[in-house]
């Protein structure tokens, strides 16, 4: 009998622990999983107060990290993935459709960012930030004429040991493929192998550092001459260090990060309220000002373009360049092929 009581006690204990992880309590909660350095945290407090709820905000540093976490069974209500990852999540049935009638601020969105090929008709995604990928450089060190080479400047040995690459598989291969004149969405093994050789060659001759978000602080303190960055990080770096300039190659990655609601989300009303809150022109303004990324909310964009970010061209990336591309979904096999090569580039 004693034994039975003991087992029962354990079971009760386990259950109470488990239920603690679930909804628990009467308060409404919203679990948001987004990029690091991607939100003005004051907005979260404001939102929590306005809707009398709790927002659990977690961050990741790459789409792949987010995907792995999701795959391992972690549950979130709102995610902010990029284009190709949204396509993947739609295909793999992770998302639920957005009810645009609940988004009263949606009218303020720029036409240009809507109806993208990864989510035609924006059934699942609400644009959050957009931009391009380029090179932020120290104008006191880099000779601007060298940029005639486009992406190939990243193999100009004049700057050996003086560059940061971006520690992301798709972006690094994007650079190599674009430098070679191929599509960044290629599935042709020969082209991918050639891009791999490009990266290995760059690694050997240039000795680059593959950095993550630490590149922002490093470039603000001017540690190296050049860094591959997302336009928004470029704008932030330029606003903090006036020697920095932004170079946008003629063929680059045109990206968009958008808010999506997962299938697990139960309080969809609150999730929509959150997305609507982020689309509010004042909030979009505050957020974009804080993190430096280009907002798709036209009113906030125009205000920042002529205001705080006047003269900082990284804030106004050239969208719609004919040679630009948006990342597309890769099938598992191609993804695995890239992943293996990327591990090898880094471990070489």
């Amino acid at each position: 009998m004693k034994k039975f009581t003991c087992v029962l006690m354990c079971a009760v204990l386990m259950l109470s622990v488990l239920s603690g992880c679930g909804s628990g309590g009467s308060d409404r909660t919203l679990k948001v999983y987004s990029w690091g350095e991607y939100l003005d945290m004051d907005l979260l407090d404001e939102f929590e107060e306005m809707y009398d709820c709790e927002v659990i905000y977690e961050t990741y540093d790459s789409n792949e990290t987010m995907y792995t976490k999701l795959q391992s069974g972690e549950e979130y209500d709102i995610l902010v993935p990029s284009d190709y990852m949204i396509e993947r999540l739609i295909k793999e049935d992770y998302l639920q459709e957005v009810d645009w009638s609940l988004l009263t601020n949606a009218d303020g969105l720029s036409e240009e960012v809507l109806d993208m090929p990864f989510d035609p008709g924006n059934q699942y995604s609400v644009p959050f930030f957009c931009g391009t990928v380029g090179i932020v450089y120290d104008s006191t060190v880099v000779d601007e004429a060298d940029f005639d080479a486009g992406w190939e400047i990243l193999r100009n040995t004049k700057y050996a040991g003086n560059i940061y690459m971006y520690d992301s598989e798709r972006d690094s291969f994007m650079i190599a493929l674009k430098a070679l004149g191929y599509s960044m969405n290629t599935t042709d093994r020969a082209e991918i192998d050639e891009a791999y050789e490009w990266l290995i060659n760059q690694r050997d001759t240039m000795n680059p550092v593959y950095a993550g978000d630490d590149v922002i602080d490093n470039m603000i303190s001017g540690n190296k001459a050049m860094a591959v960055v997302y336009s928004g990080d470029g704008a932030y770096i330029m606003s903090e260090n006036e020697n920095m300039r932004y170079f946008e190659p003629e063929e680059t990655n045109e990206w968009q990060d958008a808010m999506v609601i997962t299938k697990n989300c139960e309080d969809t009303e609150l999730a929509h309220a959150y997305m609507n809150f982020m689309l509010d022109p004042d909030n979009a303004y505050a957020n974009s000002l804080e993190v430096g990324y280009t907002t798709p909310v036209t009113e906030a964009y125009n205000k920042l373009k002529d205001g705080e970010y006047a003269g900082i061209d990284a804030y106004t990336p050239t969208m719609g360049n004919p040679n630009n591309e948006v990342f597309e979904y890769q099938d598992t096999e191609t993804k695995q092929y890239f992943a293996d090569l990327w591990t090898k580039v880094k471990a070489y």
């Binding site: 792949e64 992943a339 471990a347």
Partner: protein, 275 residues
């Protein structure tokens, strides 16, 4: 007594749930392919074959080389420090050991970030060098930065066991050696060092284990291209999403560590038997 054994039962459930099942899962992942959800799996040894590729082997050798360097530096610094501390009065020793452990109260990440601001190209050290008229020395993203980060992080794990075994040495043994005509060096080498070997081995095991499985310090101080075993595993799990290959590497690492420990333990035993 029966009463107490019953109290341990919840722990058994706990141990099975958080130690044994995950370990079995790692073994299962390492010998299969077919995705992370384990829905349709096929058994294979390809994951282990893949490790034999020269590029991954070089990651292993690099990690071990770095681990050995870190251990040797920790041993030299740690032994000296422990020896000096053990010469103080008991009260002073307590305070000194506390001082050695205080850095461990601060999160590793914070301490590593402190190193970044010290070592970076426009960091504190280089700014001072420039002021004194020297050229800046690139220190970040080199072996030097990673090793200095590891040593500063792991030194307490070397100092504490060595200090403990130095404290246990009976002072009369040292006096006896002196009386019998041994000079200071011989006394140290033949008596003090010999008797402190258990502490030294423990320190070596701990620092070595921690240094070859680390991934945060090399990532921050060595950059994304600084790939050690820990980083390789982290990469496979987090960004690549190939848990099968990641598990195979983890398993191999665990095996290597177990062998290393058992070799050390054997050395320790032989040593005690000799006396």
């Amino acid at each position: 007594m029966r009463h107490f054994t019953k109290l341990a039962r919840p722990y058994i459930i706990w141990a099975v749930a958080i130690i044994i099942i995950p370990l079995l899962l790692i073994v299962l992942y390492s010998v299969t392919t077919g995705g992370n959800d384990l829905v349709n799996i096929q058994f294979t040894l390809d994951n282990f074959k893949k490790i034999a590729e020269p590029i991954y082997l070089s990651v292993f050798t690099k990690s071990f080389r770095l681990g050995v360097i870190t251990v040797v530096i920790c041993l030299l610094l740690g032994y000296t420090l422990a020896y000096i501390i053990s010469k103080f009065s008991e009260k002073a020793q307590n305070i000194l050991i506390l001082l050695v452990t205080i850095p461990m109260w601060i999160n590793t990440l914070l301490r590593t970030y402190a190193w970044i601001s010290l070592l970076s190209d426009n960091g504190i050290i280089n700014t001072m060098l420039n002021k004194l008229g020297f050229d800046s020395v690139p220190m970040m993203y080199t072996d030097f930065a990673v090793i200095i980060g590891l040593v500063s992080d792991l030194l307490p794990f070397m100092v504490i066991p060595i200090h403990t075994s130095l404290c246990k040495i009976d002072n009369s043994l040292i006096e006896a050696a002196m009386d019998l005509g041994a000079d200071r060096f011989h006394t140290f080498w033949k008596v003090t060092f010999k008797l402190s070997i258990p502490g030294v081995l423990n320190g070596i095991i701990m620092t070595f284990l921690l240094s070859i499985s680390t991934f945060v310090i090399p990532k921050l101080l060595g950059g994304g291209q600084y790939m050690l075993i820990g980083n390789l595993i982290e990469n496979q799990f987090i960004s690549v999403g190939d848990w099968n290959f990641g598990s195979a590497i983890s398993l191999l690492l665990a095996a290597v560590i177990l062998i290393a420990i058992s070799l050390m333990k054997r050395a320790d035993r032989e040593d005690t038997e000799e006396e």
